[in-house]
Point group: C2
Chain length 332, copies 2
Amino acid sequence: MHLLNPLRNLLIATLFLLTAPAISLAESLPSWNDGDTKKAITEFVESVTREGSADFIPEDQRIATFDNDGTLWAEKPMYFQLIYAMDQVKKMAPQHPEWKTQEPFASVIRGDTEKVLASGKEGLMKILAATHTNMTAEDFQSAVTSWLQTARHPKTNRPYNEMIYQPMLELLTYLRANGFKTFIVSGGGVDFMRVFAQETYGIPPDQVVGSSLKAKYEVRDGKPVILKLPEVNLIDDKEGKPVGIHQYIGQRPVFTAGNSDGDYQMLEYTTAGSGPRFGLILHHTDAKREWAYDRKSHVGQLNKALDDASKKGWTVIDMQKDWKVIFPASKQ
Amino acid sequence: MHLLNPLRNLLIATLFLLTAPAISLAESLPSWNDGDTKKAITEFVESVTREGSADFIPEDQRIATFDNDGTLWAEKPMYFQLIYAMDQVKKMAPQHPEWKTQEPFASVIRGDTEKVLASGKEGLMKILAATHTNMTAEDFQSAVTSWLQTARHPKTNRPYNEMIYQPMLELLTYLRANGFKTFIVSGGGVDFMRVFAQETYGIPPDQVVGSSLKAKYEVRDGKPVILKLPEVNLIDDKEGKPVGIHQYIGQRPVFTAGNSDGDYQMLEYTTAGSGPRFGLILHHTDAKREWAYDRKSHVGQLNKALDDASKKGWTVIDMQKDWKVIFPASKQ
């Protein structure tokens, strides 16, 4: 006994060290300036994770959902997935000589983005159908993977998966270190985001919820494949976000982050749950280091959610004031 | 340095102990008889988790999917969810005097199960619509929760969530201890299974994939709710299983278990992936301790998958021969 006891005690002490929060608060959100926003986040997390606290939330209920475009990565000059789609049209053009005279394809090929956007929802749906459907899930995945390796953002010349917000990466890590399960809930395409979410955000494919197409199972030449059909399954935006959360996650989140009116219903659904809840809005206020836009922006319009934030108790990040850095150091 | 080094070494040693497999193989599947089936499972798991092995599978790709009805819990005399639905019809009958003369409700109320089943798909859809739709997700969840607390299986008198297979619980635990992420992929209703999957199987709601209805987000009297609509979203059976896996999990599994031809496509999709894969079929062969059924059963028919198992390299559990016990000790 007297030989084993010291070892046992050390084991217990070590286990305690291992289970105690690995990082101190000051260290866990280093890219956040001290102030009300950071304080609101850390106070919430501390109170819901402290055993015995009136606000304690058991670990299996610590569900955190994050919008992607404009919340985890940038969305200017336009949604990156749309840039992907236009790049694919250009790549596929030699096999489609008819596109030279067909809109919106002709404008895409000429590089006339203004005119492409002016083609509206109908035009964009044609581009999405041509580049996202009637192919196997694996072929789509390969195409996105190789695009990410070579495509560069027009303003920063960074790979798109480096146009991500360093402070939000830290927030994801901080939440996970405190027992939260982190999910993406985005209007973007689920198959598109799943290509990079694990490596970029540490979020596995099954924790990505997004807009989706219907799919079909087929055995082609003896090989089972999933075929992406040209038919919408879920638009995971606005009222579609709580629906997506219900269908895919099956629990109401206790923490949610977004940046636009497309996240209004997710914020509302999350923070109306009983017990402590946290709603976070990223306000793009930094024209110098990123972009400044809100009420009148075509991409990521933030109007009603900004009006109601204070009344609803949602915390608003002022990007310019709250963040020390925007993007992580480039790996290139 | 000389003060810290011994502590560091002990920390490393402890960490090693903590990350080494916690349970020896003999102990991890105690309800499985030694034999080819158990050996096939443990050899697969050992080879894909051994660093440096040619068959090594990184942890983020260790996706395991399990059917529920007839694979994790029993499905006789009929699917438990159908028993729930019929119990609900009886409970709701006082508010629906018209049901006394309307089929299939009249037969349900009289307890004439034969006649209910004879009403076919159309009759069953009416029962499902009456008991599963036009209600909020939270109300449905409460109703299932209270049913599980009081309802008892007609043959064993156990609560339905104790009609689960002890050897499969051990298999789930064993896979998780070896870095697998375990999912349910079932023809059963996702909202129904999510009520008990965490407590019963240790599988959280977001790792349950099942058949689902369309849903709608609504703010009712200032309270945001999810409404279950009388419209099918996904039938997660046969060809629907690989589709459900793609939509919800987003990765092809490396391990899958089922018990009927409804799992054929999931087995095929899983085991056709490149690299090592494991397909497992539970053959109900134990008329004494459970039920014996396969090719001619209306519930859980196992015919084509049994024919093709050997050719496809799927491992078949002979329940009578491979399992020491069927159900866990009752908590009642």
